[in-house]
């Protein structure tokens, strides 16, 4: 019942000396370069002209806003807005349904031990298998090239992940807490909402952001289900690969529009994200 003491978590015990420590630092530096260099290249690329981009020997250049003008006037922000709408609706539905599903799996062993991981079974299928039925259905309901079709497709992979992610958090909530709430005068659902959900709130937050990123980054479903007027951000970014060749500069700028919000969000939830993936080892 004790609150975790921050000190032992990020561990003074990890501080070590000697050659291993130096090797470790070198590895981290190498990893950083691998991750950061492409991003840096994209950042610089968004301020270069086409000619400069295609000449790797250019080291210094005068930054230009030409790419950014192209990108903004191409309606990328509207596309980003659509991505936000898709992401928010997908995540809201996923959290509402997924949290109840996760609770049920955690408390009542719904579907036996198979559901715990079986819920992720759809992730094993390549999206190409699922996209055709989605497209056919979208035509049937006359929802092709609408955000609704994209949201439906995104639910198919965001909802199971959110649900799976939350099971461990619910496992960590003592049953006595709900029982106490029921004796204190709440019904089962009210006890879930007022007592259990607050305990898993950090997990729900992390799951929501994780789910949002999944939806935000999806190109495949969005490209096939809504390629036209309802194109989301990744679809528009891919659009810079035109029949006249890749518009590298504009694409760089568009990629930044796509990457920065995700990076920022992930930065704020990284600790909980790790906790959720490692099985929701929440302490009370």
């Amino acid at each position: 019942m004790k609150a975790p003491t921050r000190g032992d978590a990020d561990g003074s015990g990890l501080v070590s000396h000697g050659p291993w420590a130096i090797l470790g630092k070198l590895l981290i530096a190498a990893g950083f370069v691998v991750v950061a260099m492409p991003l840096l290249w994209v950042l610089l690329g968004s301020f270069k002209t086409g000619a400069q981009l295609n000449d790797p020997t250019v080291l210094t250049f005068t930054p230009t806003l030409e790419n950014w003008n192209t990108v903004v006037s191409s309606g990328i922000l509207t596309a980003a807005g659509r991505s936000v709408i898709v992401g928010v609706i997908t995540v809201t539905l996923s959290v509402l349904v997924g949290s109840m599903g996760a609770y049920s799996i955690s408390r009542y062993k719904t579907g036996g031990s198979a559901t715990r991981f079986g819920i992720l079974a759809a992730q094993v299928l390549p999206p190409a298998v699922l996209v055709f039925p989605f497209l056919a259905l979208a035509y049937d309901f006359q929802l092709n090239d609408t955000l609704a079709a994209v949201i439906a497709a995104h639910l198919s992979f965001v909802l199971p992940v959110v649900c799976w992610f939350l099971i461990g958090f619910f496992d960590a909530v003592p049953i006595a807490l709900e029982e106490q709430a029921m004796i204190d005068g709440l019904g089962r659902f009210a006890a879930f909402r007022k007592v259990v959900i607050p305990q898993v709130a950090p997990g729900v937050g992390a799951a929501a952001i994780f789910g949002f990123v999944l939806s935000w980054n999806d190109l495949f479903y969005a490209l096939i289900l809504a390629p036209g007027n309802s194109a989301t951000l990744p679809v528009r970014i891919a659009g810079f690969n035109t029949f006249r060749g890749v518009e590298l500069g504009a694409m760089c700028a568009a990629i930044l529009v796509s990457v920065v919000p995700v990076l920022t969000a992930t930065f704020f939830v990284q600790r909980r994200l790790v906790r959720g993936i490692s099985g929701g080892a929440v302490k009370f």
Binding site: A3, A176, Q180, I183, D184, L186, P198
Partner: protein, 353 residues
Amino acid sequence: MASVALRNVVKRFGKTEVVQNLDLNLNDGEITVLVGPSGCGKTTTLRMIAGLEAVTDGTITIGDIDVTTREPKDRDVAMVFQNYALYPHLSVLENITFPLLARGGQKPQAQRQAKEVAEILGITGLLGRKPGALSGGQQQRVAIGRAIVRNPRVFLFDEPLSNLDAKLRVDMRTEILRLQRQFGTTALYVTHDQEEAMTLSDTMVVMREGKIVQQGKPSELYSRPVDTFVAGFIGSPQMNLLHGTVVDGLFTSEAGFTTPLKNAPTGSLTLGIRPEDVVVGAEGSHQQAKIEIVELLGPRAILSLELPSGRMTAVVDAVDMLGLTEGQVVPVSVRKENLHLFSAESGQRIPTE
């Protein structure tokens, strides 16, 4: 306030019958303590009264209302769990007002009541804190505060003291007793600690394997245990139980310990001797025992005695301990008026009058 009655209550998990045909009355305003070894069904019984566990068969009434199928929230009981089950995301004040607000109480009124309760429990200074920032004893007080604030018809305690250290346990035991007397609320208290059960209970109920073995006042259970199980379970140190035979009014244990037994039927039986009924250093006794270990408890001492016929435990006043040391050989006898006789086959008490 109300009495509680369980009639022919049965609880089955699959094929195992955890509680068998239980008949139990909790008298209005009294503390009833359910005690027994783990797995005897005592916690299940408590949970059935709370409504957390469905009853397989039988009825439970609180006051004159049949609550057998009611939801926990509609039974008007309060419960203190072993791990306190405080709401970690709420402050102490919010924890105590929770049951009031959950039942549609008004906030100002609820907070006023919570503060009164906090005053009684001496936790006024903690009202703003979260449960995580409290010690075990403080958490316990908050849990009790949350139970009494609503003035329920029945208190249910599920081993509430087992997570506390020894000294705090004794303090809280007194505290619970004091509060229960003050409020006069019917209470059911579950524990596996027979000492806790003895000190707290108006009525003590010993359970074993889903059945009630004996119930009554603690003094009754102590002085007249119905069988060898209760005899061995209640009292610390344990009662000495010797198996042997009676011939012509003389009991001889299997290992050779003898004592005259009047009124005892001839044949084999089990003789129960409370450690305090073993007289150490008695003049004129032909039984000799070696004092193996002395455990001094302050006013009294527990002696582990080694007889040629086996081991025995004795409790003596520290005053009588003068001159007794480990390793010494002393004469030993028993107080004949307080002996307990049990059937050798069934373990049932044999009436001696």
